[in-house]
């Protein structure tokens, strides 16, 4: 159990480092990730290029550094939208039950039926491929999981003694939801929030890999997508950006796991 804790702590440190680099990197340096700086397809380590160059001669290292911002920012923003929608739908459905629950659940099932990536691809394709569209597209298709979880939590807590007590003394619904149920539903929701950010980052990576994101902004997935055809000759153009995504999401998942363990000590006793 301690090993898991260490992993979570290390993951947290690593993740903070990544965020710092993403935020400060472009501020402290002044490079253009799109600038052609050398011969195309230079292997890493050669000619002073730490991670090599891509098919157009741009530095992979610089692209990864600058791409961090977009990948993380889009991930966070999309996750925020997902969580807000999901929480809203789930909490209202779980608390009020009855016809509100029925209607909201039908809406949720409707969104669950449309394959998320496909739908977001369609949305980005139909409307202009800007960063905002991407954030919106990801947020709007990913909320169903959060909604279900929130609903289950609210339904469960609603039946507990202290909620019944609050209702019996005539507390208003909004008050009960915000001050009584939500704080108690927080632990699994926080864990879900962490995982949602990870999922959003992966989602953004997939969209930009497919070429469906803002063409003027570099992100990790885009690097891989741009160099797809040269993969066999220049595997480093794919390996390193992918590694960046992998490590970031791994850290987030480990943090989420760590939080889960922290909130559920009894489950870990076995």
């Amino acid at each position: 159990m301690y090993v898991k804790n260490i992993a979570a702590v290390l993951a947290f440190i690593c993740f903070t480092a990544i965020v710092l680099v993403a935020v400060l990197g472009p501020v402290l340096t002044d490079l253009d990730p799109f600038r052609i700086v050398w011969m195309p397809i230079t292997p890493p380590g050669q000619d002073g290029f730490l991670l090599g160059t891509d098919s157009l001669g741009r530095s992979i290292a610089v692209q990864i550094l600058y791409g961090a911002r977009a990948s993380l920012a889009v991930g966070a923003a999309a996750a925020a939208i997902t969580l807000v929608i999901g929480l809203l739908v789930g909490s209202l459905a779980g608390y009020y039950r009855g016809w509100i629950d029925e209607v909201l659940m039908r809406v949720t099932e409707f969104f669950q039926v449309l394959p998320p990536l496909l739908l977001s691809m369609v949305l980005v394709g139909l409307f202009s491929p800007t960063l905002q569209t991407v954030v919106f597209a990801i947020g709007v298709v990913s909320w169903t999981g959060v909604a279900r979880l929130a609903r289950a939590e609210f339904m469960k807590i609603r039946e507990l003694e202290y909620v019944k007590a609050a209702r019996s003394i005539g507390s208003k619904d909004a008050r009960i939801i915000w001050l009584v149920i939500l704080p108690n539903a927080l632990p699994p929701l926080i864990v879900t929030a962490a995982l949602t950010v990870g999922a959003a980052i992966l989602f953004e990576a997939a969209l930009s890999f497919l070429g469906l994101s803002d063409p003027n902004i570099v992100s990790w997935g885009k690097i891989i997508g741009d160099n797809r055809d040269y993969f066999l000759e220049a595997p480093w153009t794919v390996i390193f950006p992918g590694l960046a995504i992998f490590v970031t999401v791994l850290c987030i998942n480990l943090i989420g796991d760590g939080l889960n363990d922290a909130f559920n000590p009894k489950l870990r006793e076995r």
Binding site: P115, P116, L118
Partner: protein, 327 residues
């Protein structure tokens, strides 16, 4: 008898959902900036307002919204998904050409994920603090955190570049005569990497789930009874335990079909697999709206049908939920 009424209920519900999707499609379509008259006129090098009006009339775009909607729903329900702007063939035809490979990929990946995931989880559960269990946990974390297309590339590096035993792209060599044994073998050969890559994310999830589920089950009373009956450890685990442990895995897998479908889109792109995914991406990049909408509708249809089938399968497999309203 009750089972039959449940079946009818579910099918009715599925149809309603489908119609909702069609309506949604139509609304999306109407939000798209520009219309077909402009597109077609633009391609022809410009057109007079009268010409545009004529084109609009021929597409029924001059009619009021709800009439258009109604016509659209009827058309789709009859199987008419419009004509591709790019290929100039009915969208339905395009889709039917590409369905097979995608379904093949998705179902294979799903099966691999369920079987492999459950096995790994069950074996890990027998020795929760052992080396194997920790390895499975690490593998699960990796599979879950890596972008699926990156995993695909990594597997390609391993199996194509280094080992050279698996092919890189496509489904089959066009020169191989279709329908022959060689053709099937080739397809299978090409299927390995794509389906394995797609499955990786879910193997990760299911092994974790199966492990937890199995650990729970191993502590239950009926396992104790099975041991008290003198059954061997293998029978206890695989006959009594596994059957119960796999239930949550199958349930979750069934719910995730739309996600696996999404993943297939990406994987198809990586491996140039001739399925709906590559068709969808191309259509989007070419602004071939009818095709895009058609694929959206069709995938929703597949997901709905699949959910219906899994619901029925669950009721058959788990005797406890046969006649309940909600699975």
């Amino acid at each position: 008898m009750q089972l039959l009424s449940i079946v009818v209920q579910r099918i009715g519900y599925a149809v309603a959902l489908l119609i909702a999707v069609i309506i949604f499609n139509f609304i999306l379509l109407s939000l798209v900036p520009g219309d077909i008259a402009e597109t077609l006129a633009g391609e022809a090098g410009g057109g007079s307002p009268e010409l545009m009006e004529q084109i609009r009339q021929s597409y029924g775009l001059d009619k009021p919204f709800h009439v258009q909607l109604f016509n659209y729903v009827i058309r789709v329900l009859q199987g008419d998904l419009g004509t591709s702007y790019y290929f100039n063939v009915p969208v339905t035809e395009l889709i039917l050409e590409r369905v097979g490979p995608t379904l093949l990929l998705v179902t294979t990946a799903l099966l691999i994920a369920i079987v492999l995931g459950t096995l790994l989880g069950v074996i890990a559960a027998q020795n929760p603090n052992g080396l194997f269990s920790h390895l499975v946990t690490i593998l699960a974390l990796v599979g879950f955190s890596a972008p699926v297309f990156w995993t695909a590339f990594m597997l390609i590096v391993l199996f194509v570049s280094i080992l050279g035993i698996l092919p890189l792209t496509g489904m089959v060599n066009p020169t191989t005569p279709s329908g022959t044994v060689y053709w099937y073998l080739e397809v299978a050969h090409h299927l390995i990497l794509p389906s394995l890559s797609l499955a990786s994310v879910y193997i990760a999830q299911y092994s974790r789930l199966a492990r937890a589920s199995m650990m729970d089950i191993l502590g239950s009373d009926f396992i104790r009874t099975a041991r008290a009956k003198g059954l061997s450890q293998r029978k206890v685990i695989y006959k009594h335990g596994l059957r119960n442990a796999v239930i949550p895995v199958i349930t979750i897998a069934g719910l995730q079909f739309s996600y696996i479908f999404s993943g297939a889109v990406v994987i198809e792109t990586v491996f140039n697999w001739p399925g709906l995914g590559t068709l969808a991406l191309d259509a989007i990049l070419r602004s071939d709206t009818p095709t895009i909408m058609g694929i959206l509708f069709f995938s929703a249809l597949v997901v709905i049908v699949f959910n219906l089938l899994t619901d029925m399968a669950c009721r058959i497999a788990d005797p406890r939920i046969r006649s309940s309203r909600n699975a």
